[in-house]
Symmetry: D2
Subunit: 363 residues, 4 copies
């Protein structure tokens, strides 16, 4: 719908849609929207659940439960007429197409895919396709709120690109140490470990319980599309000189949710463990979703079910190294929760609206 | 190949084939055959692994590792020419067809599917098809060695039907109490729980790690095809009057391997906990793979990786109930190990040959 | 504090205390109270966390996070002066003592232990001690809200005994079928499976990850103290004739949270699967936390993180059996959530206050 | 007993003892010895199992099952009279004391603790005690067979120090790349992840199932005693210049068994992915327990239950990095299996004796 004052925080509920609601990010987003307070879910799209209500398909209570899912083919521009903001939880190529349609219908968009995260020239190598909408890509505003230097841009954006789960964790592990001048920008290594929901909801022998339980391994070694995204975010924040490269490895944990990123950097001469700890404390200070703890307290149990990131750091001058740790829930701070956080910023709501009352459910 | 003296324990290695080697039962069988001592794996069939050696596909060492897999379409009668015994780890309908071909080639067969486990009239209801080879079915000898009353029949059989995993556990939980007259034959209930490998190796959203980890539920409630198999085995052993029905429920555990069956029966008046415990001890006595322990010591960790069954029982006269417990590894005693045990019996080898040195690997 | 109109729903926040806040039930309760809306946590007791704030010890945000824990020895009657309701998350014998103290201080009490759940004469056998406060026990009102026939009693009670986790699940599996006359009251069997948090938070080799992961076994076979509690609740609801005995078995699942109860009863002649399904639907109708689903949809993933129970049932006339299933989160509907539900009823708040927005977090 | 020709491979069974048999390494060792062929377990020591047979306590079959455990206090020198080799599966300080006693009794010793792994001057900092037997420490021969440059020393040694689990995996990840000149020796990082059995068998809230399942975190960050051990082994092999330091981080996986080490090094200019892959292939060539695979095939499922290490490597010249991966079973190649391998070398048996037939049990 046409929103003459983009993002104005009107008093009434703000109508939103979720496309791709039956995937893990979409499910999480539907839950978060249904408890948000200011957003109202008015439309949900899923081929798998077409015709079913969210009460039936997802056990959602309240008004959101009454929303009946549309098939994707039914999503004509008119379908977005009463919607102010659309969340896209779709594969990158689908998102690119739907973002254009939603903008044309006058909606604002938060896209959770990789469709708008890199420069156009990086798509062929890392995503395997030529970006079909470079104009849209140029307009899209990438927003990892804890790393953003220009919040006003997000406030005004029609199309926000929500960060990947690994980049969120990796940047939160590295940025405190880089900004505080504790580590050198060169030769950074991020060793990341994720739960299985990061792979999405699908039938796959590789992700079957029998294959994953009791196992642990790396995947897409030196080829993961989140590598250039991390490099790009850090360059944008001026934490890394443009063109700086780092090493990123993803591993698959035998658990459902959560990412731990362990990041290694060369310690700046004269710095030590106290500087590393002070850096994460300073970083956490004005960021409501970041909590600084000891390096060994950064754990999945402290974040699963919340939009919170735990960060910690330590250093060893004898070995010339500092290590930053960050833990997030890949489906919340790494996807749906961060999308709500971005929607809050776009709509001029308080950044934490609808996200404050989430508390960790572990054990 | 023609084996004029069926099952003669010749001194040399006995050549065997495995069809369906890339499924979980087939993999386990290949491992067991490779360490057996008397059997030699000379042929392996798998569409998925066609053209690959078992060293490459499975990491198998020694001569078995050198076996190169054939695609199923390549298995002409000639393919069985040098094989004395064929293990079929294939779906029921495929097994029925291949069993005929293997017998025609002069091989003996151990079938691990449900293709030869019920009476012909039970197939439409429980397996959803009319049995296409009633003659073969009539010839097949069902062999759960701990419950068999006529071992000579197995010794002579051309075609042995290896029991299902749940029937193996369920019978081992109930038979000691029934044979010792501790419980009544009517109103029996078996509540069984299995690891995920029982569902086979396949791409399936329902069996993905994200869906199974942290979950527990029943499946095929009151429709599981192992129900009539349990009833039939117990009737054959005369533990149950013909036509007696019992209740069986299967549940899916968030673990890979192992079955625990908890079986409830009405306590015969005058019997008590000591009788229940004595019954399982007596049952274990001459059965090398059965070990009697306390009811709370019957656990998956004691059996995973072995061909052993742990059995235990307790009773409460005030409540008029006895409970029998049995634990097995669904892939070993519930499938591949029992198939080796049956092959040993058919071939006149010692029942425990190649199975004695397996020890539990938990934790 | 003295509350002249017991349980009146005053407009302001109602001050409550939690004793035993560092156990799993206490933690869950602190989280629920902090998000409740009408209750305000003003006091928390834990020897382990004495002196620490709940923000520090538990990561709790908002005013509840500012509460600083007292050691148990510091809890003098005066400590309860400003508290209207005390939740006791303490072992049975501690609860019995503290309940008296809290009542003397003018507070109302919800006790989550087994201290007030059975008749006095049952304590020596099932809990191993003679009940030291039979007067209090006589006054205590046991409240499983979905089975309560006299809600006014709960509304007036000074001391409410919150049900055990297994009795909650077991009663929800059986009561629909008993009330609808689908099953006979004799010979009932409940085969229950629980996650590890049911055992509490403690150092124990038996409950270590290395021992539990990959394992499954029964425990306290025919000796579990929840057996007489289930019998008693069902007798109170007149679903079972007084003195009727049933069989209950507890098993330990390799997962953290959730209970599935599978309950077997003899089918009343003439009844069938449709009657069983109708019974659970009817039962769910006016009970906001009960949801009727198909038997195979009763699963832990649908309830973990919520105060909801999923119930389902099926029957097989040929086998003369009906099976009822119920799933709950042992720490929520089986402990802390049900305690909030009971506090809501005592205080005249809506039964679902503070519990509606919990949604399952699986996967 | 006096063994005039140390390590002579006599034809008969070689009598051995295991001290600390009830811990996870001791259990694994007892299983391996019982299936070894040339070793015979004649004595087992455990306070926890004192007086019980290994058949009863561990379910061990055959002659080893008949061994009855002694309490540690009963282990007088005479107790070792009939033993040729003693395996010590005891804490470091206990091992140091018992090693002396066993040598005095004429036995040879393989110690699985950290008691003889570092230089004397490193004990206060990394183990928290002053080494009480520097003479013994000087005599002890550290043996990671795949990295040993002087096998004759092991052949003659009275006291062999078996490597730690993390050093075994870390060295196997780094050494191929270092020896082939693919990476620089400076600035190495090893990010290692282990299953819970690495922490030993004990009652501990931190290692309870409820705390570990669904969690992941680092521990002993920059303080782990395996750090100097890795540095020392690599210096001994001349892969690292003396005094070179590296960074090591241990993480706890929610699984029971297995270690994956991910090791990062700066790529030598001119080298690339093909060189990294060739390095691991060359390294595997004459090492029977090392198998080179692709980087993403290095996984726990391929090694659990075996004495095998899977190794793989990849490199990215654009980022100037090579990554080496190694996976082992922490209880087999990381403890008991390697102890057998070392005993085989000491006793002049084939290196793989008793270890060849272990095959992975996953899934």
């Amino acid at each position: 719908m046409n929103s003459p004052v983009p993002g104005a925080a009107s008093a009434g509920p703000i109508p939103v849609a979720i496309v791709g609601v039956s995937g893990y990010s979409g499910i999480e987003l539907a839950r978060l929207v249904s408890r948000h307070g200011r957003l109202r879910l008015v439309q949900a799209v899923s081929d798998k659940w077409a015709g079913r209500s969210l009460a039936d398909a997802l056990g959602l209570e309240g008004p959101a439960g009454a929303v009946r899912c549309l098939a994707q083919a039914e999503v004509a521009p008119a379908a977005f007429a009463d919607v102010e903001l659309v969340f896209l939880c779709t594969p990158a190529e689908v998102s690119i197409e739907l973002a254009g349609r939603a903008l044309a219908a006058g909606c604002r968009v938060v896209d959770l895919s990789g469709g708008f995260r890199l420069a156009a020239e990086d798509y062929p190598r890392w995503y395997g396709f030529v970006h079909p909408a470079p104009g849209l890509l140029a307009e899209a505003v990438y927003s990892l709120p804890e790393a953003t230097r220009n919040p006003a841009e997000v406030r005004r954006a029609r199309l926000v690109s929500n960060p990947g789960c690994f980049p969120t964790a990796s940047v939160l592990a590295l940025l405190p140490l880089l900004e505080a001048g504790v580590i050198e920008p060169g030769g950074l290594v991020v060793d990341a470990k994720t739960g299985t929901t990061g792979a999405g909801r699908k039938a796959s022998e590789d992700f079957s319980f029998s294959e994953v339980d009791g196992d642990f391994r790396a995947y897409r070694v030196l080829k993961h599309q989140h590598t250039p995204e991390i490099e790009r975010v850090l360059a944008t924040t001026q934490a890394l000189p443009p063109g700086t490269r780092l090493t990123f490895t993803a591993h698959l944990l035998p658990t459902r949710r959560g990412i731990l990123a362990t990041a290694y950097g060369r310690l700046v001469r004269g710095k030590g463990a106290a500087d590393a700890a002070a850096a994460v404390r300073a970083f956490a200070e004005n960021r409501p979703f970041v909590r600084a703890v000891g390096a060994e307290q950064v754990r999945l149990h402290g974040v699963v079910g919340t939009n919170r990131a735990l960060v910690g750091a330590d250093a060893d001058p004898e070995r010339g190294v500092a290590i930053g740790f960050a833990a997030i829930d890949n489906l919340v701070k790494g996807a749906a929760g961060q999308a709500i956080q971005n929607a809050n910023l776009m709509l001029g709501l308080g950044e934490t609206t609808g996200l404050e009352l989430l508390s960790a459910t572990a054990p």
